[in-house]
Symmetry: C2
Subunit: 415 residues, 2 copies
Amino acid sequence: MKAEIISVGTELLLGEIDDTNASYISRRLAAIGVDVFFRHTVGDNLDRLVQTLRSGRRRAQILLLCGGLGPTPDDLTREALAELTQRPLVAVPEAELKMHNFFQERGRTPTASNFKQCQVPRGGELLDNPVGTAPGVWLQHERNTFIAVPGPPPEMREMIDGQVLPRLRQRLRTDGAGVLWTRTLRLAGVGESQVADMLADLLAAQQDPSIALYASPAEVRIRLATKSPNELLAAQLFAPVEQEIRQGLGAAVYGVDDETMEVAVGRALVAAGATLAVAESCTGGLIASRLTDIPGASRYFLAGHVTYSNEAKQDVLGVSAEILQNHGAVSEECAAAMALGARERSGADYAASVTGIAGPTGGTPDKPVGLVYMALADAAGCTVERHLWPSSREQFKQRVSQMALDLIRRRIISH
Amino acid sequence: MKAEIISVGTELLLGEIDDTNASYISRRLAAIGVDVFFRHTVGDNLDRLVQTLRSGRRRAQILLLCGGLGPTPDDLTREALAELTQRPLVAVPEAELKMHNFFQERGRTPTASNFKQCQVPRGGELLDNPVGTAPGVWLQHERNTFIAVPGPPPEMREMIDGQVLPRLRQRLRTDGAGVLWTRTLRLAGVGESQVADMLADLLAAQQDPSIALYASPAEVRIRLATKSPNELLAAQLFAPVEQEIRQGLGAAVYGVDDETMEVAVGRALVAAGATLAVAESCTGGLIASRLTDIPGASRYFLAGHVTYSNEAKQDVLGVSAEILQNHGAVSEECAAAMALGARERSGADYAASVTGIAGPTGGTPDKPVGLVYMALADAAGCTVERHLWPSSREQFKQRVSQMALDLIRRRIISH
């Protein structure tokens, strides 16, 4: 089954926001086996929207629109569907009642513009929006299915995951195309060729599920995929393969599907009933910020110290003047002292530190841009790693934070 | 002049990366007055790439492709242009020599695949890539101009700004269409209607430059635009209008064009010769991370403390047990104590703090999700602001960090 994704909004064409919705929807469709060969971005313009739908419907059964469902005259997705299919927009009384109640609960009164959102091209359905006022649209017309979801990311995600994907899975079943189920294992601290070598036999023998490797900086992903009538059967097929991969690659597998490294670290800490502190120099707070992106991080994350100046390293973390003078702030000795100091100060079970040269300036022949020391202190003592990752400041911060979090994760689960 | 942007890469269609290149190029084209009415994303597939170019060239003079210029068989942008225009790919000797030297300097030897990158459809030109190995393509064919730039963001940005925009400006001049020049003032801490009111006379009388307002959460932008043969004349036209706006809106203007709030804070600190420390609870290190995204931040940023636990607030910042017991960690008193503690500890001229409830859990009727206190301490004492911004955890962290940075900026420039 083929789909095209159409992102709607002049603000996208002006580059005022990045279109993260399109990539989210792309991932979700790929995961159930719907092929996306084209994506388009169109402004808030009726003719151009209709034109895009018209050419897209010749190539794909599913046309999935994101955005343009708001209450203003600029929001034209419903109108474009009506125009294309030559079906008049009709009001949906249940949606009107819901809109009325939504506003009443907030002590406000909906206007005619709001009620525009309760209309759908005749024969279509509105998709309930549990987190906002703009319902989605589901419209079957001749051989095409037109789906429209709202642009605000939380509303889009809720509607895609809660309503669009289950319906598309059902459709794939009915059509006999088979539903694709996937499970992606995410690995850190190993290279692609290393993974390929360790899995050589498995990769050579693969039939069902299929096994594919994907690599990006600081991450390798292994995607298991199978066509199956339901999720349970797919899960049963994946389980032994995943087990074999985990036996071979052990601690490198940090998460599954959308799980980030900060989720993995949080989970490991909760499982161990342990607490964490961090001391950062070159990452400037990014490690702490990522850890605290996870709801409930206060259960295990005690404190972070962004000791950018030498004075702060001495005062807050107790790094000695001798270390700073003889070895410098970017040194094995300083990294160790920072981690030990952060652990002692916070009373955390684990404390990690990073100190390095993010660049673009500040490098020397001895200590070039991209040099970083990462340390981890726990009850058993302190270990330090040295790495050289020359890259842009932004990429450096991202990569160092990822690898420092992985260092923490590996240590916790090794206990 | 109309352009369409075509992003090339199967990894985009699978949603593995967000297409930030497309928004960057969109912003740049909008800024010089080139209209982008459609953007497309296509995978690494020759037929579909040619198909997209074929339909795009009927609608727009400029077709700007991004990606697919690498050395692997998957990289098909050059081939698609050759196929569409029926011009054979020919080698460019200067580019081959440069490729050879590039590899030699690194002690390596280029392969046949690398030399593929030195080919261009006959009659076209290669655009020099000062930061990578993939040259770009510039090809005039019948009424269309086809431009291809590499996908890695630093290479794309360098080529767009350094080569593509100057050539397009020249083209706009030659065509008599006129080059659009813009200057965008970025404001924080004021609402759109407030800005509109203050600028009412200016907006009513506007002719050249045109003045437009754009609003997004926590930011208002005022865009000045004019068509002018060169940048200097445009700048002379903008200057008095900008001065009038700055007189009316004073400190609300934090930056211009692409300048972020962290850039503005850094600039204010450097100008004042002052230093900064921050103490964060609910933003979890995001403020420190944003401040340290700016190269050279070590000149003014001394230390950040992510005091997530009450113990850390007491131990590191000297918040009293009495405050935590009687008022709680999310209180005016605690915010003030955190800022004062961070200032005293670091010796910084300014110290800011934030403490709040990011959610989704942890809210109470008295202290709901979205409540935040922000404090700023300097030599004159300490002030505290209270805000309620219920939103997702991610949006909350983003907004609080933006407003805390703005609080710092305003205080510094008021001195």
